[in-house]
Each structure stands twice: as C-alpha cells, then as structure tokens.
Symmetry: C2
Subunit: 599 residues, 2 copies
C-alpha cells in the first residue's frame, strides 16, 4: 500500500465530502474534470513515490553542509526537483494569466501534500518558491514581475521568505535590516536574517529572497516595515545573470528535523553592496506578506497533517503485518500469535491517528476550497462571507494539525515499539520533522492571540457568526440521519459553550488576562471545528453506505467509527478546556519568574 496517500480517502474527502465536483463547474476550472485531476494525482503520486520518497531517510542522515561558503548536498535532491519541474508541477500553484495551470487550490494542495509526505525536506524548496512567486505576483510591479516571475513559476529560480532576525522572531516590529533608497530607485539592503529555509544552495542558478526591512525614517514597529525582492545574483536588463548581490551565507542551522532543507543565517550587504527592489508600497511590508499568509499557513497545516498521515499509514501497514502476542482471552501460549492490529490499544493508537489526520485533512481541503470559492464567486457579499470564515479558520488550520498530528506521529512510533524509535524506520523522522510546525509561520501562542484577540471579535463577531451558521447547517443536514443525531446534539452544545466562554472572557477587566489562556482556547476551538469536519464526513459516509457497493462498506464504517471516536474521546476534552478558559484562570498570568524556581 502507498504510505504517502490514501487515494480512496482523498476521493472521499474531495468529492464525496467537500464537493470538488461542484467547483469544477465554474468557468475558472473549465480545463478540468475529475478524470483530468485524477491523472494529475496519478502523475504526482508516481513522482513522489518513485523519486522523492526513496532518499528521504538518506537525506535526513546526510544533511547539507557548509563548505567554503557554499552548500553541498546529496545529488538526489536536485534530481527530484528536476523531475518535479519537468513534469510541470511547479505551475500548479499559479493562474493561467501568468502561465500557470490554474488548478483548483484544493487539487494543488492535494498533489503537493503527496510530495510533503514523501520527502518534506525537498518539498520545502518548492513551496517556498511558490509562496514567494505568488507574493510577487500579488504585490510586485510589472517590471519586477517580468524579470523574476517566469523563472520562479517554472522552478528555474527558487524563492525564500526572509522575515526573522536573530533578535526578532515573533517580534517582527523589532527587525533591524535596513533598506536605503539609491538614486535609481533601488535600495541598498544591510542586515542579518535568521532561520531562512532554502536561504542558500546550488540547486538553482539564482535565489529570489523576499525580505522584510526598514527604510530609515519610517515609523517604529510593524508600521515601518517594507518588503523587498533581493536576488542572490543580480539580473541584467536582458534577463541574464549578473554579478553576485552579496547575500552571504554566514552559517547553517542544524535542526532536529527538516534536515534536508538548508536553514540559513544570511548577511546582506556585508561583503559588498546588496541591492533590493521595493515590492508594493513603502511601509506596507507586513500587509503584503499577509497577502500570502493564509495560503502559507494552510500549507503549514497541510504539511503537519500529511507528516501525520505518513506515520499513520506506515504504522497501520506495520500493525497489520507484525505478529506479536495473542488475544487477552486466549491463554494458550502455543497458539499462533496474532497481528498486533488485533490488540485493543494498538487499535486505539491507530484510531487516534486516523481521527486526527483525516479530521485535519478534511479541514485543510475545506479551507482550500474557500480560497477557490473566493476566486470564483461573483458576489462581493459572498466573497466577504467566505473571507471572514477563512480568516477565522486560518489559525486553526495552521495550529491544530501542528499539535495533534504531531501527537499522531508519537503514536505511530508507539505502534512500532522499539523499531519505531530507530532510524531504520521512517516514523521517528516524521515525528522530528513535525515538531517544527508549532514554531514557524507564527508560533502556537501567536495563533492563540490571533484567534481569541482578533478573529472571533473582528467585525462585531461576524466571522464567528459565519462559522456558527456553517456548522449549524451541517448539523441540520446530519439530523436527518438517525445514527448522527447524538453528534448533532454534542456539536450544538459545543457551539453554545464557545459562546458562553467568549461571553465570560469578555467581562475581564484586564484585556491581557482575557488572553492569558488564548492557546488553550485555540486548541479547544480546533477540536470543535474538527468535530464539525467529522460530522461532515459522517454524513458523506452515511450516504455512501446507503448507495455502497460491498467493497466500500469497510471504508465507510471506518469513517463512522472515527466520527464516533472523535465525539466520545476528543470533543469532551474541548468542553473542559473552554470551561477553564471561561474562569479567566490567572495562575500563570500572575506568576513572577522567580516563583518558578525560588531564586
């Protein structure tokens, strides 16, 4: 079986649960039908399995090295990226007007997910490039786009995002990288950027950095941040490569996972002039960056999810083929051993993974669909409604999988026992890879502040109203299925608890205390949303069962069981967490640092 994708489940999620087929009716996607998309998935799966997956462990064990100021890495990385490029897959991320395939974002996410699952470290180069190119396309001048976009679109040049600095990670307002305007309208860039994934390598002739910096005299804090395009090599007017732009690789960070992706400390303008091009308006850098943030954050959530999926599929396959022990009721030590998938706790470990991973997948495809719907809708009001929903879901899309699909990876190791803890099996690598996702693209805490301090209250709570209406609509549909009525009741109750919690918190006199447990709220809110996703899947599975051929019965029954599991084992946890948040607990908030240790 494939351990990077469950195609049956992908069909179930995209078509039976989330209605990709409806999207395909839109003129925007006139080039595609289900067969065409299936063919792209086939192609993607075969490249991911044949070219990306085989050297994931080797790359992890042989990370890129810094040699004489340059990066050396095993040649398989370039070969894999070449295969991806030659298949034209780089262009799946773009619209037709810039030469892209204009695939539904749902489908783009699904095919890219296979590469992330197969070899996360290599896939990072692709997604950073696509993210940077989309940002340039959204905010850059025609001249800039003309020079850089076609190369990035085709994967000839890669891209990066340069936000953090050694002294400023979460606190972007404190960045110090400086951009001084030159006589010709370009900018001289000086400063140091930290944690730059793909920040240097020899995989492509050029690298296009999207850099946040401050123009002297601009306002303090985030209001004075501008966005610049800074190429590794300057580009001549005829498009040919010019001299070095003096972006110096100062060193590589050595991570626990994602080892195949170079992660760099970069110095700008230290060894000679580094020139950059303003992208968008001055002092609009953060806003421009945020143009791409929803997509990027859904991308991080998807990465967290499919790294979880890889562990789930691998451990499931292992459990079905590893004999060990006997049923508890069997006291005969001479009887044959059973497969460990027969043991109740192994089933629990597998089911927990399934509930987390397939629940998260559903949310991420749902959110990708929102991006598609926003593009095809011709009603401003509807666009606004969809945008509100997407804004509210984004911190959950990014954070919930980071937390719970990492937990899934922990369980995958446990299924394999001692074997799972060794590098001879992939599950420990997936666990290491996934631990990053709480940290980058906004830490877990920042997303807590985002959802609780901004998203649930913005526009007088309009986003939460949209979400509530959407969930209520699913509840209404599910109520017609007798087996699902109990879940409808539970989910409706959870929605009430959310509102009660927010009402209680709104009474806090100190707004900082109101947000002191925002991360707890974030996780709990995620559970409500995933419970909704499982109800959606249960409705689809019920329909499927009613119309099913026998071959699909196990599949649908498994979906209904996973829904039951989530409502019995998981959703109650969220209710407890909401109750805690509602008390405005100040235990940690009031503590001073000395009390942790006594000195």
């Amino acid at each position: 079986m494939s351990i990077i994708v469950n195609r049956r489940d992908l069909d179930f999620l995209l078509y039976e649960t989330l209605g990709l087929d409806e999207l395909l009716q839109a003129p925007r996607f006139a080039d595609y039908d289900r067969d065409a998309i299936g063919a792209i998935f086939d192609l993607s799966q075969s490249i991911a399995e044949d070219v990306f997956q085989p050297f994931a462990a080797k790359l992890d064990a042989n990370e890129p090295e810094y040699v004489d100021g340059k990066v050396e890495m095993i040649p398989e990385v370039r070969d894999a990226l070449d295969a991806y490029k030659e298949a034209g897959l780089f262009t799946t991320a773009y619209d037709a007007d810039i030469g892209g395939m204009q695939l539904p974002w749902m489908a783009h996410q699904a095919l890219n997910a296979m590469f992330v699952c197969a070899n996360t470290s290599v896939s990072n180069y692709v997604f950073l490039t696509q993210g940077a190119a989309n940002m340039l396309n959204a905010c850059g001048s025609q001249a800039l786009k003309q020079t850089f976009l076609p190369k990035m679109r085709d994967g000839e040049w890669f891209g990066t995002m340069c936000l953090s600095e050694p002294q400023a990670g979460s606190s972007l307002g404190d960045i110090r990288t400086k951009a001084e305007e030159l006589a010709d309208g370009r900018y001289k860039i000086t400063g140091t950027k930290m944690w730059i994934s793909g920040g240097d390598h020899e995989l492509t002739e050029n690298i296009v950095h999207m850099v946040l910096a401050k123009i002297p005299g601009s306002p303090a804090g985030v209001k004075g941040i501008s966005l610049f395009l800074v190429p590794k090599h300057r580009v001549n007017d005829d498009g040919s490569l010019g001299e070095s732009n003096n972006v110096a690789l100062a060193g590589l960070n050595h991570k626990m996972g994602h080892r195949g992706t170079t992660n760099c400390l970069l110095n700008f303008g230290e060894e000679g002039d580094t020139v950059g091009y303003l992208v968008g308006e001055q002092n609009q850098g953060l806003a421009n960056m945020f143009h791409m943030m929803n997509e990027a954050r859904i991308g991080v959530g998807m990465a967290a999810t499919v790294i979880g999926l890889g562990g789930y599929l691998y451990s499931l396959d292992y459990a079905r083929n590893r004999p060990q022990g006997r049923h508890l009721s069997n006291k005969d030590p001479e009887s044959p051993m059973v497969m460990i998938s027969e043991h109740a706790d192994i089933k629990r470990l597998l089911m927990t993974q399934k509930a987390y991973v397939e629940g998260a997948l559903s949310l991420l495809y749902f959110s990708a669909k929102l991006l598609d719907l926003i593009k095809i809708s011709d009603s401003q009001q509807e666009k606004q409604r969809l945008n509100l929903l997407l804004e509210l879901l984004t911190p959950i899309c990014k954070s919930w999988p980071s937390e719970f699909c990492l937990e899934a990876n922990k369980h995958a190791i446990q299924v394999l026992g001692g074997y799972g803890y060794t590098r001879e099996y992939p599950v420990e690598r997936l666990y290491r890879d996934n631990r990053l996702n709480h940290i980058h693209e906004g830490t877990h805490a920042i997303h807590g502040l985002d959802i609780m301090g901004r998203k649930v209250t913005m526009a007088n709570g309009a986003a939460l109203k949209v979400l509530t209406a959407e969930i209520t609509s699913t509840i209404d549909e599910a109520s017609a299925v007798p087996e699902l009525v109990g879940y409808c009741h539970d989910l409706g109750g959870a929605l009430e608890t959310v509102q009660e919690t927010l009402d209680a918190v709104s009474k806090a006199e100190d707004p900082a205390l109101a947000l002191a447990n925002a991360t707890v709220f974030l996780d709990a809110m995620g559970h409500v949303v995933i419970a909704w996703m499982w109800l959606k899947q249960a409705v689809a599975a019920s329909k499927g069962l009613a119309a099913s051929v026998e071959a699909d019965e196990d599949f649908y029954q498994g979906k209904l069981a996973a829904c039951q599991f989530f409502y019995r084992h998981e959703l109650p946890k969220a209710i407890g967490q909401f109750n805690l948040v509602a008390t405005l607990d100040d235990t940690c908030f009031n503590l001073c640092a000395e009390q942790f240790i006594g000195t």
Copy 2:
C-alpha cells in the same frame, strides 16, 4: 544556574515534603545524616556537571560505531564512567553486606538522577550494571555471586538485561533463545537478542549479560522461561579472564535518542559455544527478573522525569534571559523589549513543565522511600501494606512521566522557538531521548493492562484501599489549611470517580472489553496520584511559608501556584477520562483492521 538539578527543590521534596530525615533515624542508615547526604549530592553534582554534561551533545552527534565487529566510541564516555567509578558512586546502589554504601534508595535515586539529566546515554551503562548486579545478588548462587558481583559492584565489569528478541518484544513468552544443560551444570546458550542496551562495547574488560532463555522441554509461554548469566568473556576459576564466550555483536540499532548508549543485536552461540549459568531456579526466569522490576521501572520513570527537568530548567533560564516583544498593554514599539518569561503563554509553558516534572519527581521519591521503608520495617503486615502500595504505584511511576515529562520537553522546545528546534541547544535532544520511555521496560499499553487488569483488583482491591487511605490521610492534613480546602474537595471527588469507574467497568461481560481503554485509565490514574503529590507539596509549602525566611517566599509561592495549576488545568482532564472509561467505550475494540483504510 544548574540545569541538571534544582537543589532547593530537591531539599524541599526529600526533607520538607517526604521526610527523608525520618528515614535517617533507622539503624540501617546510621552512617548518614543530612549533611553527609548533602556532601554526596555535592560530589555527584560536580562530577555530573563537570564530566558528564559537557560532552552530551558531542556524544549525541557522534554515536558509537560498529567497526570490524567491535564498538568504537568517543573517549569521553570512558573518562566519565571512570570518574564515576573512582568516586565510588557505583556502590551507592548496594547494601553494606556486599560492600555497598547502603545509602537510602531515595538518596541513591536523587544522585543518579543528576547523571541521567546531565548525560542520559552515559548514565545508562551505570544503571544497567546496577540493575543486573542487584538481580544477581537477589537470585544468584553464592558461587556465581563470588565470581561476578564484586566486579560489577565496583563498575569494573558492566551488566545488561537481555529479554527481547526480534520476534518477541512485549510477548516474552515467545522467546526462542535456547539453553541446553551441559554435563557440568552449565548451559549452552543459542539464540538472538534484540535491543540490548550496552550489549557490547570496549568500556570494560567484561560484560555480564542477564539473559532470558528456554530450557528444552520446559512449559510453553512465560512459565518456561529461565534466567541465565552469560559473560562476554569466560572467567577462569582464579577470577582471571578466559577465552571469548562467543556473544557476537551482529549489529547496532540507530535510535532517535539515547545515541551514546550502544543498542545491540547479539547472537549467542553462533560463532562457537556460548556458556551460561542458571540464575535461581529453572523456569523462574520471569519471576527473578521481576525481583528487580519495581526498581528498574521507578528508574525509568525517574529518567523520564529528569530528562523533563533538564528541559524545564534550561528553558526557564532561557526565558529569563531572552528579550522579545512587549506586554500586550504596551503599544509603544520604541519601548524596550521584555524578557519572554513575562509573556502569559511562556509562563503557561513553563508552569506546565514545572507541574509535570516536580509532580513526577515527588512521586518517584515517594516510591523510592517505600522501597526504603520496606527494608527498615520490622512488621510483616506493614511491609505487606507498603508492598501493595508500591505495586500499585509502579506502573504509574514508569508511565506517567514517560507521557507527561515528554510533553514537558515539547514545551521546552517551544519556549526557545526556532532555537529550540536546533541541535545547537539541548532541548531537542532531551525530547528525542525521552521518547524512548513509553517503549522500554514494558510499553505504555502493558502498564495500562497491569494497573487495570491486575493491580487495582489484586488481593480483593487491597492495594487500591491502601492508596485511598494514604491519599485520604493527606487530604485530612491539608484540610487544616484554609487555602487548600478546595483541592481536598477536588481530590476526594476524584477518588470517588476512580471507584465509580472501576465499579462500572467491573460490570463488563467481556473482560477484554473492560480492559480496552486501560491506557486511558492509566494516564488518568496517574493524574490523581500526581494531584495527591501536589497536595503533599502544598501542605509542605504552607508550613514553609509560615516559618519562612523571606528568601524562600517566592519558592513556596511557586509551589502553591503549581498546585493550583494542576488542580485547575490538569485534574479535570482525568475526570473526563474516567467518565469515558466508565462507559466501556467499544469504538476501537470493535473495529477490524480493514475499516481503518477501507481495504
């Protein structure tokens, strides 16, 4: 500050909370007073910090290698173990009758914990040797002991435990290693052992393997397992080393963590005869192994805890010295940044670590004290009572820290952000090291079956009655402190929930269904026990505050805050889990493997 031990807290736990000073009144410990033990701790801390800790990261990055059938490793390992040996610390694990220091087990655990925290991989060699030696002492013949014990006691020869085989990990009844009696009463050993930590190396002249094997004709399953002592090199009658005993290193496993400890696949009797010596009676191998199991399992729990402690102390120190961002109420971007320990969510991440780690430490020292009390008690009835309590607590001692102090390590990484995810900082290594502890010395699931299927019901529930009485006694004491009355109520309620849960489960018609959620019960039961430990600490902190010098006030207030945190944020989770277990949920139990994926 030290990042391997908080001596103020160690004093608080050992003396103020758990009464080590009372133990020291016993004749068995007449050689020791608080000053003497403090001096041993000073010595241990300085060796652990000066000799063990400095190369932990280097060892992790340069794991032992298999070269021409032998193990090569960096020389610092031997130097560190020599320093430990020369300080006489190997003998802290033994009674005076075999030349040991006869230290209270509480103190032995405390000093060893410093070495585990400083360098887990190196400390493993010590504890495996002490475990094997104690097993030999408990079960071996005089002749065997005379030959092997002094060398092991002094750390001249190291020891191992050889239980698992490639096809039999949790299912020990299925081991295939064979022991055929020779004419001279020795045994010829043939077979393969897997996951043998310290299974081969050149650190000592000899290695003493404690091996489980089956004598042909013995009963099937666990009833036919015997225990053998198998040296790497044979030992002549005069005690000098003889020829090789043909224990062949077939390969090294490459783990996610614990990289400095060799982990071996060993072949016995493949390249020539391997001889072994029966330890204890035939077919009593598992029972003999279990002689040491309580100590070993408490040791694993302690390792999990202090790996968590290392992350907590490091991330606390980091948070107090890393400026980033401002208070939420401060909108002036030009004001100075604050230390991240000022941010509410960082405090939550630190407090969660403190509550888990110091709660677990308390339990492990309490359990170590039980081992001491069993030895000094002169009442058979009291010994039995203490043994019951220890038996019940052992699966929790081993498992709760494995789960929740790993969670603490996850949080430590989060406090450091991107830095925490790199190998330039120790917290990711601690996270990798700690992931093992769910797996070895009985998996998490096995301890769930142990506590729910055996420990809570054994002797008509006598062990649970002892635990309930102990907890009730703490509640009675705490009830006298007005600030603690709420916790007393909560903990009393939790005890009732435990009983109601077990009553509900006992009505299951299928015993296997009753145990289907045993792991959930195990975690929840651990939460109740840790809540008890926090109430104990709160009582001690209240006393301390009443009598306190000003310098200690922060320390005691921090303890009270951690207790409050545990009762508000954690204990309610356990109540939810008990409620789930009480429903006899069969979601996973009834699932067949095909339903996970549909094929």
